[in-house]
Symmetry: C2
Subunit: 362 residues, 2 copies
């Protein structure tokens, strides 16, 4: 019997076991062709079918309207930090950026290379002193777009609402929340995501862009980040990351088989509640984010005594609970509960946390 | 017994059979960790060791001096078409580009977005009327750099010498020739290559850059293309394409086990000569490149009657000889004979070509 391992890495993250088994089985012989899918020309019919099917499955899952293009690009989320201003600031070089954590802050740094960026505060202190979210901003109605990050992977802060930006296109870095539940794509001008959390392996970014936003690029936009050129070339202006795209396609099929995003949303809510409820009831662990702003995907938690952190991690690893160390900015622990993490993984984590607390508790 | 298949794709191309077997075997359990290498955090010790070992093996293979940085980036060769001018034109925004075929031409288009590009003719007509290479140019001694493409994948034209550019840094797009034989790295300011030909799967670019060239970037260079920032972060300014990097590392180890680049050079020469000699002796097939400019890696050839092309390809596929269709610009056939292609593949191709010629010949 296989040793059970649960990988809580924030990204690159675990992929669904069924997907990994299929990928391994056909690794060297894809559909009887005698070669790996990664050895196929991206211009050949066999690979083109893989690519098109992945796109269609994503369109089905997210109910992406026909007036949106779906791009499969290289460069991850940080590539898109540059691509968004380079594609949207060609006519009007100013934008509003709502900053809620490290990732939205990093997006600002890239946008400032291209145009004028106004930073708006995404955080506010909730009534009980914990971190909460601002719900309205003095937005610039003449900005080219408003950018925000619906889920901050490091801080574990997530929007449970979509900001209202009026007629100004809303751009969202959904790297760590895409596909975790249904979302109304029509509320967005651009949705983008690095793949290595909820989509597939690292080295791929998915971009969903409304067609009317494809004609305002800066002339200096590099080809690999040029949405209009990539849309025209079906994301094959250059050789795409074919294997990552293929694996993303397997993940999309797996999500359909699980019942789609409604079903995933219910599961992800249940997984997150299991952990938050345990933490809130505990006097050994704590989470410092206000409940209204808590992430379903990335859950940081602190032990009551930081000097126990190493022992906690060592014991967790021995039980097959991996990659729980928190980001250095936040410290403590972090459990990432992306789609591929089964509820059994969260149950095993809570059981271990409880055992550890009793061993070292007050 | 496994069906023998030889994949002549120009890229994504075949990978060494031994590499693919190892990758498949450890696909879901890397070094007993219970997870795939693609599910490891790039910041963790397990993956960092993979990354560092790949770099060291490449340094050993190519004898890369200590004053060169080695970067593992996203965006492929076309990403580097943009990265080179963005990293080198910040102080002096002009460069010379030697154009020998489609790829060096595409590099010009990206560089023109950044600065002044002077195009120099890389081709000349040889004495016998076939395509040969220019051997000297009126170079601008005040240019920021000279760019060329030592092997043009589409046309099958390859430099058998390194252009002398004096004190001006020489930048080479080696996508389809890197690792095919020993090369004197010290002759270059920058060597770059998309991985999907002689290094690994698509979605990765390797850049070898002399340290003194890291301080002349344009301020607007996107982070994912910023050599200095990437060098400082060991290519992990953002999440790198971890699985492609790992596979590249396996290929580097395989190359070492084959005897390194001296041994590969001898093999690649022998493979290419086998096919060229057959074509030259045939009155059914022809190659239109002058012998002094012929590529070892990509060998286009024409049938004497284009109307036989489809029958040729169909028969080849039936014998397990795949992806021989030539690029649409050149037409006819193209056999790419990268490192992973064994001589047995070329022997099988020549045997099939001979049989086909006899069936359809004059």
């Amino acid at each position: 019997m296989e040793k059970m391992v649960y990988n809580f890495s924030a990204g690159p993250a675990m992929l669904p076991v069924e997907v990994m088994k299929q990928a391994q089985a056909e690794f060297r012989d894809f559909h009887g062709l005698g070669v790996s899918v990664m050895e196929l020309s991206h211009r050949g019919a066999d690979y083109m079918a893989v690519a098109a099917e992945a796109e269609q499955d994503l369109r089905d899952l997210m109910q992406i309207p026909d007036n949106y293009k779906v791009l499969f690009l290289q460069g991850g989320g940080r590539g898109q930090f540059a691509a968004v201003p380079l594609n949207l600031m060609g006519i009007n070089a100013k934008a509003d950026y709502i900053v809620t954590g490290q990732w939205s802050k990093s997006a600002v740094a890239e946008a400032e290379k291209v145009g004028d960026v106004r930073v708006l505060e995404g955080l506010k202190t909730a009534e009980d002193g914990r971190q909460g979210l601002a719900t309205s901003w003095a937005l610039d109605s003449t900005a080219a777009y408003v950018h925000y990050c619906p889920n901050e992977t490091i801080e574990g802060i997530e929007y449970n609402f979509i900001p209202d930006t009026g007629d100004v296109p809303l751009v969202a870095d959904m790297s760590s929340t895409i596909l975790s539940r249904p979302i109304d794509v029509t509320r967005f001008g651009i949705i983008y995501a690095g793949a290595q959390k909820n989509i597939g392996p690292s080295g791929l970014a998915v971009v969903i862009v409304r067609e009317d936003l494809l004609s305002q690029a800066c002339p200096q936009v590099p080809g690999i980040l040029d949405y209009a050129a990539m849309a025209k070339a079906d994301s094959m202006l250059n050789t795409p990351p074919t294997y990552a795209w293929y694996l993303a396609g397997l993940v999309f099929k797996w999500l359909k088989a699980q019942g789609g995003l409604e079903a995933m949303g219910e599961r992800n809510k249940a997984k997150a509640e299991l952990l938050y409820n345990y933490v809130d009831a505990s006097d050994f662990y704590r989470n410092e984010v206000h409940p209204s702003a808590r992430s379903w995907m990335n859950i940081p938690f602190q032990l009551k005594d930081d000097s126990l952190n190493d022992a906690f991690l060592k014991g967790a690893k021995a039980e097959g609970l991996l990659a729980l160390k928190g980001h250095r900015i936040v410290g403590g622990m972090r459990a990432s509960l992306y789609n591929a993490m089964p509820i059994e993984g969260v149950q095993a984590l809570v059981a271990y946390m409880d055992k550890f607390a009793k061993q070292h508790g007050s």
